[in-house]
Structure formats: structure tokens, C-alpha cells
Amino acid sequence: MTQLKKRMVQLEVLRYDPEKDTEPHFQKYTVECNEEWVVLDALNAVKETIDPTLNFRWSCHMAVCGSCGMMVNGEPKLSCHAFLRSYEGVIRVEPLANFPIERDLVTVADDFLEKLKRVKPYLIPKEKKSIEQGEFKQTPAQLMKFRQFSMCINCMLCYAACPEYALQPKFIGPAAIALAHRYNQDSRDGGRDERQEVIATNEGVWECSFVGACSEVCPKAVDPAGALQQVKVASTIDWFKEHLLPGGAK
């Protein structure tokens, strides 16, 4: 059997115990890792062999569940998707930026979840159909119109990267608005007007200034920045129709 190459890895992890600490502080760990491991494996090795009090979220370990988002050397990453071989020296691990810290690497995601709900991220069918009337039909071309935006795993890396969300916490944010766009683009959907009431606001898409950081950090190539620009264009056309056409025709 081939020898698995080992590597001593130094982690600097931001700790916070709400019952004891007034402020977070860094704690250093040195742990033996396999060369091909990811940061999540290193954290688990720390928890199992050095410090069982270390808290962090994770689940699938294959970048599909979106649970393990954190800052690795200041960059929003899924810890299961951050390979140790990409890093040299001490690896700094912090909870996902722009969210309150619950404990250690665990953040409070409530704000994101509330915003997700607010944009009505579900099909509001254009035509009501009973089961007996059969299924909604959709061509591959119609599917392609929104498919990319359906790939979001709600990992919140985009919120951690977005400086406008950092500056204005009321901003609905990239993932939520991109998801609204996903449904607006779905040929079966008729709920665009309802969603526009939520996202065509100053807290919605108009807080976005196309920094593009969200798309750069997205692990699923959803391109939320692109989605938001498309929402801006569509909302602008709406605005002109509502204000210039007689009766505000849609």
C-alpha cells in the first residue's frame, strides 16, 4: 500500500464562548494531517485529538450541502472544498464574515433564512392545474433559462464576500435575489409581480453595486452577480412601463 504523505498543519482558529468570553480570540493548533486533506479534515482532527470543545458546522464533506462555510485566510470558502495543499504556513480559520458569531466557527444564519423566505422561493403557478389535468410541460430551452440559478446550495459564502451586505445589513443579498430570479425565469411561474414587490426595492436589488465578489466565491458557479444585473435590467424596464405607459401597462 502506498504511504499516505503526512503534513504538520498549523491552524489559527477564532474561538468564542458566549458563556465565558466578551470577545473572540485566536487559538493555535498544530495537528498532523494527510497531504490530500481539506481544512474540514484538519478541524475534525483537532476536535478528535486535541480540543473536543471546538465547534463548527459540516455535513456532506463534498460541497453540496452548504453547511461548512467559513473564512480561510480571509476568503469565504467551504471548508470541505479548501485543500490543505493550497495553503502554506499558518492557516487562519474564522467564522463566515458578515454574520453574528454564535460560538466558535458557528454563525447565526437567521437573517439569511428570513430573507430567503421573503422572496417567495417557490413556484407560484401561472395556471392552476389539478393532478388530473396533467403535468406542466417545459422544453429544455425553457429549463436552461433558469437552471444555473437553481444550483445554489445556500452556503452563504456570497453574503460573506459582499461588501454592500457588510455595509448595509438590510440588503436582501445575492443568494436570495438570485433565487427569486430563478423562479421569475421559470416558464411555469406566474409570481414575478409578487416577488418584484420584495426585490425591486432599495433593500433589494438596488443595494447591489455589482462588486461581483459573490460570483467569484460561489462554489457552484451560480453567478448571483449576473442574476442581480438581469434583475436590475428587468426591473428598470418594468419601471418605465409602469411610469410611462398609460394605465401602467405591464
Binding site: E19, P24, L167, Q229
Partner: protein, 130 residues
């Protein structure tokens, strides 16, 4: 067990210094200062033009010289920076779907560069430079 979530403060005035991608974003955004300055310069030029030959030629004399050249060169650099960034992001804002595929962004970007070159040559031709 009591909860006491900790909110990390972000500097409202220096956040963009923390990451290269934020600096790149700001470099794009500040082009507006130079485009705006240039637009105001053109307003002055039109105003002077409307006041007759003496006024306009006095304006021309003011914008002749090394400091003027330097300032305009800086404006040119930012104008080009704006142009290249603008063209590169256009496919994201306006994707072109053909059937089941999306047109590769490079064609949209390429077309913009082509129009840029043609438009510039046309202007230079009519300005008597070419």
C-alpha cells in the same frame, strides 16, 4: 445555556483596502470622478464656444500645456479602465440564449471591442486627425 451572539465590526471607510478584489472594484468605481470631471470640462468648452471666438480661444489657451496634458492623460487612463471593465461584464448583465445554449461571452465582448475601435476611428476621421 445562554446565547450572546458576537457581531464583528466592519470599517465603513477602509473595508475596500482589505482584499485585492475590493480594490479592483473601487478602481472601477472611481473612474466616474474622471468621467464626471471630463464632462464638466466639456460643459465649459461648450459654454466658452457659445461666447464667441475670443472666449473660446482663451479657453483653448488654458487647456494647453504640460499640467493640462498630465491631467487629461490621467482622465484617459481611467476612461480606458472604465471601457475595458464595462465591456467585460456586459455578457453577465445581458446573456444571449440561442436555443438551449448561451452565446459564449467572448463574442459579445469581442463585438464591443470592435465597435469601440470603429467608433474611435470614425471620430478621429471626422476630427481631422486621421
Amino acid at each position: 445555556m445562554s446565547r450572546k451572539p458576537y457581531i464583528r465590526q466592519v470599517s465603513k471607510t477602509s473595508w475596500y483596502l482589505k482584499q485585492p478584489r475590493y480594490m479592483r472594484y473601487m478602481s472601477r468605481e472611481v473612474t466616474c470622478i474622471f468621467i464626471g470631471a471630463f464632462a464638466l470640462l466639456m460643459v465649459c468648452a461648450v459654454e466658452r464656444l457659445s461666447q464667441g471666438q475670443a472666449a473660446f480661444e482663451s479657453f483653448m489657451a488654458t487647456i494647453t500645456g504640460p499640467w493640462s496634458f498630465l491631467g487629461l492623460f490621467v482622465i484617459l487612463a481611467f476612461a480606458v479602465h472604465n471601457a475595458t471593465n464595462w465591456f467585460n461584464v456586459t455578457p453577465k448583465a445581458m446573456p444571449v440564449q440561442i436555443g438551449e445554449e448561451f452565446l459564449n461571452g467572448k463574442y459579445i465582448v469581442g463585438a464591443h471591442y470592435a465597435i469601440w475601435i470603429v467608433a474611435s476611428l470614425v471620430v478621429l476621421f471626422f476630427a481631422g486627425v486621421m
